[in-house]
Symmetry: C2
Subunit: 247 residues, 2 copies
């Protein structure tokens, strides 16, 4: 069996962008409900506290990534992702702290949010699957799983304008997470895209990249599925999860 | 700080059984729809092929469990779980093969089922979370996560009688998985329960056992949540997942 011809750089980039165009969670009905002002405060609270699980796992995911590469330049580039989310506790608060400004602004107890005890099990399973994912397979796969950030600025812009406009319980001060990501995400995404395009030189590695980005879209999509199901329709909240009426 | 007084053996058993009584997935509406004959064939197919992900992961989960214990007696006891599911390919077909008899009997291509490509991402995340779970923390935690088998015979009996009675596309030959588990599950569950009651001698280990059984109930419950959401109501099938109308 001969090795199949690899895609060109442009073909691979087009294949990756097509995954975003068809599977990124900006296409999910829950996203449309959220930024379109169709949710009540309890539903927005549920979204914010579940999404905290994801935000707070990112530095573990990125540290696990760094832990497995012998490429010092790659480690040097990647470490700022950990710092962006964790902050330094002095000058830079970091993305997790900014997310907590959102959940606190929504009236949620930060200790409850940080515990993640009230998050949906489906959220935690999806998030931890992502933390595990970057620890296995090729480095191309691990890098490519971060490429959803290529599509993030658009969703952040929709969220900022939509949520500020449509909810009287949301103001500018709690939206600072998204404002900051508007500049951080493109830098990270461009580095990761270039890394993948440069290193995915065989069909097998290109397939790794495509599968990894699909996987990551599933991680994000399934989180919105779980929120839609538990809090919107049919609104069946699993045992032990956050109940807006009990806050 | 003094160590809190451990529960008695009976108190711990009661606490574990209470988790089953309030969180086991026989209480989930999808289970009731399934055995009550309220689903169409496509929905039963979706259930069977998603549940295959879980069935087929069990030997990996049990091997990962065996891989971490230095207790030879525990390994000797546990290995038959791997054999029960994998069979020997000669005299004993094993539980996975019996599950494939069900999916094939439902008209699904076994290669598609085995690939798990059409399963819901949420199913895969939950299943892999279970495989990871037994590899971390105390052995009590790892053993206790199997204790849902204490509650399994009841659900299997409901499934056998309900599905045979209510669906003309289900006959005795495809229900053999459940018949066999009626005898296998209690043996395993009794061993695991005794192990936990014997080894969970501190409050911390008892808490491990309680959390582990809760976790496992969440693994099972979230799989039915995902099926209900994707295939029953609001019937929003995620990108790439099984579509009954495309078989």
């Amino acid at each position: 069996m001969t090795e199949p011809t690899p895609m060109t750089r442009d073909e691979l980039e087009a294949a990756l962008r097509k995954i975003g165009a068809t599977r990124y969670h900006n296409l999910h009905p829950f996203h449309k409900l959220l930024h379109g002002g169709e949710l009540n405060k309890g539903q927005v609270q549920a979204w914010a506290l579940n999404r905290y699980c994801y935000q707070s796992a990112i530095p573990r995911k990125d540290a696990a990534f760094i832990a497995r590469t012998t490429d010092r330049n790659l480690r040097r580039e990647w470490i700022h992702r950990v710092e962006d989310h964790d902050g330094d506790g002095i000058e830079e608060e970091g993305g997790i702290e900014r997310w907590l400004a959102l959940t606190t602004g929504l009236g949620l107890d930060p200790a409850m949010v940080i515990s993640t005890e009230k998050a949906l099990p489906a959220t935690r399973f999806a998030v931890e699957a992502y933390v595990e994912y970057v620890q296995k397979g090729s480095m191309v796969r691990a890098v490519a799983s971060s490429l959803t950030e290529l599509f993030a600025p658009k969703i952040h812009e929709e969220r900022i304008s939509g949520m500020l406009e449509n909810y009287d319980f949301i103001d500018e001060s709690v939206m600072k997470y998204f404002r900051r990501r508007l500049t951080q995400a493109p830098r990270d995404a461009n580095f990761a895209l270039n890394y993948v395009l440069e290193h995915a030189t065989t069909r097998a590695l290109q397939q790794d990249a495509i599968e990894a980005l699909t996987f990551k879209c599933n991680v994000l999509w399934s989180q919105l599925d779980a929120l839609y199901f538990a809090y919107y329709s049919p609104a069946m909240i699993p045992p032990g999860a956050f109940r807006p009426d009990e806050v």
